[in-house]
């Protein structure tokens, strides 16, 4: 057990400090992947994959395996499967995806109910419980996050090209299929890493909301990415700081802050002097 650092309230205990690290990690890594998903116009795909991850949670509870592993298997298979269908243009728009995802959540509900008296545990996955995260959990999240950072460091430019203009990338000879599948797998990884922290129902929001705010302010893709990471981390910090004194769910608090940032940015941009925007032309 690692002793608690002397941090002020509400981060004075070891469990609160683990929660802080976990939330900051999710706040940083989720928007990193999210920027590519938003650019690909797949803002909602994270939500869908999270639904499939829930089937994995149910399966884990049923067969008594740590649900994070089973969720990872389900989410990766679901995300990659959907991406392969999309690449082959076999999926008839979002209807096929919707079916896929609803079956996921239905499976999760059925599995969990068969697993017996696990309602509380199920709830902790649906809404997140950062104070319950163990050091193993924290390390898992940080390792998954490091994989995301490494992948984007290595393939970020190519991923940008692919999500920006898929047809052109194919003609240009970029490995569109493998890169798209890798992005899907990373998305699944981040969702599973974050589901215990902000919850299956809210993790996708952390992929999209900081990016939505950042793209209103930034003037390049790189700038959007950096700003989204900063907004994600700050939202996590503020949300978690407010959660304990106000006695509210941390996941909800974090996403609320991220949404409030978006509202403030959008409002500021609307009411900003027109001259600022005119100047750009």
């Amino acid at each position: 057990m690692i002793a608690a650092l002397s941090l002020p309230y509400p981060f004075e205990t070891a469990e609160a400090q683990r929660a802080l690290i976990a939330c900051l990690a999710v706040g940083v890594f989720a928007p990193m992947i999210g920027a590519f998903l938003v650019q690909k116009r797949l803002s909602l795909v994270g939500d869908g994959i999270a639904h499939v991850a829930f089937a994995g949670v149910g399966a884990g509870l049923l067969i008594q395996v740590w649900p994070v592993w089973t969720a990872l298997v389900f989410a990766v298979i679901g995300a990659v499967g959907v991406e392969v269908l999309r690449l082959k243009r076999k999926a008839a728009g979002d209807l096929a995806l919707a079916l896929f995802f609803y079956v996921g959540i239905a499976m999760g509900a059925v599995f969990a109910s068969r697993a017996g008296d696990v309602e509380l545990e199920t709830l902790s996955y649906l809404f997140g419980d950062p104070y319950a995260v163990t050091w193993v959990g924290v390390v898992t999240i940080v390792v998954l996050g490091a994989a995301v950072v490494a992948a984007i460091g290595l393939a970020g430019r190519a991923l940008f090209a692919v999500v920006t203009d898929e047809d052109w990338s194919r003609v240009a000879g970029l490995p569109v299929g493998p890169l798209s599948v890798a992005l899907a797998a990373l998305t699944a990884g981040v969702i599973v890493a974050g589901m215990k922290i902000v919850g299956i129902l809210l993790i996708a929001a952390m992929m999209v909301l900081p990016v939505a705010s950042a793209q209103l302010m930034a003037r390049s893709f790189r700038g959007t990415l950096r700003l989204a990471i900063a907004i994600g981390a700050v939202s996590s910090l503020i949300g978690l700081t407010l959660a304990r004194p106000l006695d509210i769910a941390p996941g909800g608090a974090i996403v609320f802050v991220a949404a409030a940032v978006f509202a403030a940015v959008a409002l500021a941009k609307r009411t900003a002097p027109r001259a600022l925007q005119q100047e750009a032309h």
Partner: protein, 264 residues
Amino acid sequence: MDAEPAPHLPARAPEDAEVLVRADDLSFSYGHDPVLQDVTLDVRAGEFVALVGPNGSGKSTLLKVILGALEPGSGRVELLGRSPRDVRDRWRVGYVPQRPSLLSEVPATVQEIVAAGRLRQRGWWRGLTGSDHAAVGHAIESVGLAELALRPLNELSIGQQQRAFIARAFAGEPELLVLDEPIAGVDAESQRRFRDSLVHLIRQHGAGVLLVSHELAAVADVIERVVVLKRRVVFDGSPSELASRGVSLGIHREDLPLWLEDLR
């Protein structure tokens, strides 16, 4: 077919110039709908070929077959001397798609878009080096966007955006440039820039250009060969040959499209 068979004039490019694209008796159909029939066409290094034809004449399909996005039903097609899907050094081919609808939520600068054109050459997993950045800068300059390089694409006019996509193709220093209706609805300034940068690519770098367009007025004086497609190749020759049939590319902008309609 009521059109005469195509007079196949020799290309103006020297006979020993490298053949970049070769299609032999190419046919393609979507189901039972024949789109291309017995199309024979070549594009050599240093040559500027314009491919024209009425809507639905198979121009885009032909480009897709040439670029390997579609398999031909019958006949043969070679890109850089190989079957299009086997071409390894794809960076030798630059491609400017019909105005792509890529402008999504996230801002991306002209420079970021153009830098993508350099990826394949470098190896997509490697960072860009000084010479890559120089090539990107040069490509942006050649289409006249140097001052807008750091501006997000969605703040630019349609013509400027299209020039950015042309610069993306230029950045890879292609030996063959394939353009699909790149100047539809583009302003006069952009059309002039467009013409100049194509001439530069052909004269300075010896590249071959295959341009699909309805609007040839801007490039009429530099086109060496016109290929008219209407499922088959119905004309393949110089602009003056075409003029002798009463069709001019430049002076009366409407001539060509009208003539194409008559062919229907």
